[in-house]
Symmetry: C2
Subunit: 133 residues, 2 copies
């Protein structure tokens, strides 16, 4: 009984973390949708609003052109609830997207679908992972 | 035959993206290992070196204390090859880690193991995902 009680106390002390991570690989996107840093940044900002996620800080990067093909873009958001990361490869008409949020009242799946609907890929592979404790 | 040839041409035009994502949920970490912003930032920087990943920019955040328990930390790195994200929940003795890198000569699994070895969790659940096209 003593061990059981100790375990119960331990479980009470460890706060539950709810973590939901939705991510995917998006193939067959029009090149012009993958090269505009401002438009992709706005897309991430708008997706956060859609998913009830709160951006604290953004990092953006436009990579150099290669052989006349526009370079890729990365947009990463530190959000109060964890992070959003969008990376693009215009030369491959390809992007990947991660939306990972903690808290019961966040909707990473809605934020994910929002971005997918705007990028309009021909093919999407997506997964979700439980990032809770 | 015409269709086959068209497909072959299409495949030649689309550059191959190699993307490797290793991520995990780390339970049972000593609280003091989860609260030191400078130490956790150094850990991410050192893990990047271990995995041949190149940091372009870092975002760090220390969240507010709650009821006398130190707040969590987020360290997110935009790397040339994609991103690293470490989030901690001291109140739950818990952290999550994502290392996602592109390119044949990157070793996200080594970077992942480096951080895990330093945080020394009692329990690790980890996964890997193919983020290539």
């Amino acid at each position: 009984m003593k061990n059981t009680t100790s375990t119960q106390v331990m479980q009470q002390q460890i706060a539950k973390v709810i973590g939901k991570h939705v991510y995917g690989n998006l193939n067959g996107i029009e090149m012009k949708s993958l090269t505009d840093l401002n438009a992709l940044t706005k897309l991430v900002v708008d997706s956060a609003k859609a998913g009830n996620l709160h951006i604290l800080e953004l990092i953006t990067k436009k990579f150099s052109d290669v052989n006349g093909i526009p370079g890729g873009i990365s947009v990463i958001a530190l959000i109060e609830e964890s992070h959003i990361a969008l990376h693009t490869w215009p030369e491959s008409l390809y992007a990947t997207l991660d939306i990972y949020s903690c808290g019961a009242n966040t909707y990473p799946d809605i934020a994910f679908k929002y971005i997918v609907s705007k990028l309009n890929p021909k093919k999407v592979k997506s997964w979700s992972a439980d990032r809770g404790n």
